[in-house]
Structure formats: C-alpha cells, structure tokens
C-alpha cells in the first residue's frame, strides 16, 4: 500500500499522458482533462503543505524558545496577518482589486521586500567580479572576453566606444553575433543533453525503476 499504490499511480498517470499525445481523442482526451484538473488542485495543496510546514517549524521554534525564536514569531504573525486580511477583509474573490487591504500589503510590503532582496545580488555580482573572476587560463580568458563583449555590446555605450567602425561592425553587432551563434550553439548542446537525460528519467519514473520520490520506508 505504502509503495505499490504510488508506483502504480505514477505509471498509470504517466502512461495516460503519453498515450494522449498520440491518441488525442476519447477516452484519453477526457481522462487527461480530468487528470489535469486534479493535478492543478493537488498542486495547490502541495504549496499549502509547504506553507503550513513553515508555520509548524516556526511554531516549534517559538514553543521551544530556540535560538532566534523572535524572528520565527515575526514569521507567524506576518503570515497570520496577511492570511486574515486576504481571507476576510479584502472582498473574497476580489482580494486583488486595487485599493483592497491585501493589495496594499502586496504593494507596500511584499513588493519592496521581494524586489530589494533580488536587487542586492547586483552588489554581490560586482564584488565577485572583482575578487573571484580571474583569467587563469585560456578557457577563463575566453569566458571573460565573451562576458566583456556582451556586457558592453548590450548597452548603448558599446556602440559609442566603437562608433569609428562602420555600421554593422560595431560592438552591438558583435554582441548580437555572439548571442546568435556561439551562445546558441553551446546552449543548444546543453539543451539536447538535458532533454535526453529528462526523457530517460521520465521513462524510469513511469516504469517504476526510479522510486526516489517515494522516500524511505516509514
């Protein structure tokens, strides 16, 4: 029950999806539509699981007065506040309408925090560029050179630096060539390799050879 049923479910659902690609008619089309709807609902519960697990871990920290427990309390309080506002004080299904309290939380709290967290990476990439990127060998030099040409070619300053060259031969054109030829070739090789690996792993999952997603015995 603990392992056989999930293995059977994985195989059954996987086979339906594969067969439906080749036989897009009844009954497979109807079965796949139903399974698609179910997967969407289950996926929503899966994310809920993550959220509730976070609350469980944070609650445990607060209960045990573990190191940093006030921050766990902040997590719980802010989660509860956002949820209560979103469920009960923002017009139900119209919770994202401009002017609702939930929309205010999104624009005034969530938006700036999320944006700034990612904006911080600019400082770290600059620091890493100074301290870590070294042209130690031919490959690293080629990597840095390509990086330079793309960085300068993709902004207007690149064309200004090479405006003495005829049109069509400036830094922006070189950057465009790098993106459309060697970059495309390398990305394509990586893409094909990953695709073959993904196909192989998917087949192993459907056939029940790969059972990692079921975890250990409990």
């Amino acid at each position: 029950m603990k392992r056989r049923v999930p293995i059977f479910l994985t195989a059954f659902v996987g086979i339906i999806y594969v067969v439906q690609f080749f036989v897009p008619h009844r009954p497979f089309s109807g079965m796949q539509d139903l399974l698609n709807d179910w997967v969407q609902i289950i996926a929503a519960f899966a994310i809920w699981l993550g959220v509730l697990n976070l609350m469980k871990v944070s609650g445990d920290h607060v209960y045990r007065r573990a190191s940093g427990w006030p921050l766990s309390a902040v997590i719980i309080v802010s989660f509860l506040a956002t949820s209560v506002v979103g469920f009960f004080f923002s017009g139900g299904e119209r919770f994202q309408d401009p002017g609702t309290p939930f929309d205010w939380i999104y624009n005034s709290i969530y938006n700036p925090l999320s944006s700034t967290m990612f904006a911080m990476l600019a400082f770290y990439v600059a620091s890493a560029s100074y301290r870590a990127f070294r042209a130690r060998n031919r490959e690293a030099t080629l990597l840095l050179l390509a990086g330079f040409l793309v960085m300068l070619g993709r902004v207007p300053v690149g064309d200004q630096l090479t405006r003495f060259l005829p049109e069509g031969y400036r830094l922006s054109n070189l950057a465009d060539w790098i993106m459309n030829v060697p970059n495309k070739a390398g990305q394509r090789a990586i893409m094909i390799g990953i695709a073959l690996g993904t196909v192989s792993t998917s087949l192993r999952l459907i056939l029940g050879i790969e059972k990692g997603h079921l975890g250990g015995e409990s």
């Binding site: 609902i41 289950i42 709290i109 967290m117 970059n183």
Partner: protein, 227 residues
C-alpha cells in the same frame, strides 16, 4: 494617505534590507522574517481564492445543489477525489500517517513524467537537432572574404552546427576524451566558454537592472528627487 504611508513603509523596508550590505543587523533580520511570513500568506491566500475555491469548492457546491434539487449525479463529483488527494497531501504534516501523502505526490510525479517524456523529446531534442541540420552551402553567388565563390556558405549556421556537435561530444562521457574525440571536445569547450561568458554578461545586466529599479523607486517615488 494610505498611499503615502505605503510608500514610506516600502522605502523603510527597502533600506532595512539594504542595511545588510554594511553588516548583518536585527533590522535586516526583521525585514527578512517579515518577507518570509508575508510571502507565505500571499501564496496561501492566492491559491485558495484562485484555485481551490473556484475549481474545488464551487464545483462541489454546484454538484451538491444539483443533487439536492433532484437533478441527479453530476460529473463534477469527480473533483471530490482531487479534494481527498489534496487533504492526503496535507497529512504529511502529521507525525504518523504521513506516508499517505505519497499517493497524491505520485499523481504529480506521474503527470510530470508523462508530459516531460514527450515535450522534452519534441521541443528540446528533435526540434533543436532539426534546426541545427540546415543547408550550409546553397546555390548562388557568394564569397569568402574578398574571394568570389559560385555558391553561398551560411557561416553562422556552420558555426552553430560545429558548436552544437562539439559541445555534445564534450558532454558524451561514455568515450574517453583522447585523440580525435579529445580534440573535438576541446573545440566544444571553447564554444561552451563563450556561452558561459555570454550568460555571465547577461546575469550582470539582470542584477544591475533590478538595482536600478530599486534606486529609481527611492529617488523618484519616495524622495521625489528625479522625474
């Protein structure tokens, strides 16, 4: 008024996060914890109102009303199974009985495996090979540098073909990279280095853009120093 308060709160939270650049401090830790909690709440609420409510609750409600009105059993009752599977997923939180969450997990893994089996083969393998194997030499008047030729060479397509082929040889670890295979893989390495360099350049562009956006908010929307 709420808009003004909102902008001030947004600005102070922005500065709170940026304070980490000087050194780790309690203000940053508070902002980080606030972000985690508000994000969790955001996802929790969005998933309910946009997914669970219309697709599960309202469908079952409509099916129940139809049954009570004597309209018979509706096909929407099938959604009950997805609801049960969803609740099974949540049972992973329980100390005992968490194994039951493997059933809905198997559903998702199976659907993803089935979808990826076809789509990755079609879009990321066969289509890419198809787009690489294009005519490199075509009829017509062309030239190599200044030398006129009675045919056209598509040099870009040639380099893409060479780069893709040698890159794939580099990733083929079932043969030893010596002699001809080694030299081919080495050419592939150079193409991959250019690829990674281009990715590095674009990554820098991306991160700087995000920072520019934040500073623009601080100077324009908050302090009104720019227009």
């Amino acid at each position: 008024m709420m808009n003004l308060i909102g902008i001030w709160i947004a600005a102070l939270l922005t500065l709170g996060i940026l304070s980490f650049l000087y050194k780790d401090n309690p203000i940053y830790k508070f902002c980080e914890a606030l972000f985690v909690g508000v994000s969790a709440g955001y996802w929790f609420v969005s998933l309910f109102w946009q997914n669970i409510w219309p697709k599960l609750v309202l469908n079952l409600h409509a099916a129940a009303l139809k049954l009570l009105a004597g309209g018979g059993v509706d096909s929407r009752w099938f959604y009950l199974i997805s609801g049960v599977l969803g609740v099974m997923m949540l049972m992973r939180l329980l100390p005992k009985g968490g194994w039951i969450s493997r059933w809905p997990l198997a559903f998702i893994v199976g659907s993803t495996a089935g979808l990826y089996f076809i789509t990755y083969l079609q879009s990321n393998a066969i289509s890419q090979i198809h787009d690489t194997l294009v005519p490199l030499v075509t009829a017509g008047n062309g030239r190599f540098l200044w030398i006129p030729l009675p045919f056209n060479i598509d040099w870009d397509a040639f380099f893409v073909f060479v780069g893709t082929f040698t890159g794939l040889i580099y990733f083929f670890f079932s043969i030893e990279h010596t002699k001809l295979a080694g030299k081919t893989a080495r050419v592939g390495t150079f193409f991959l280095m250019v690829t990674f360099g281009a990715s590095f350049g674009y990554t820098v562009m991306s991160r700087m853009s995000l920072l520019i956006g934040r500073f623009d908010f601080l100077f324009r929307d908050w302090l009104h120093l720019t227009h």
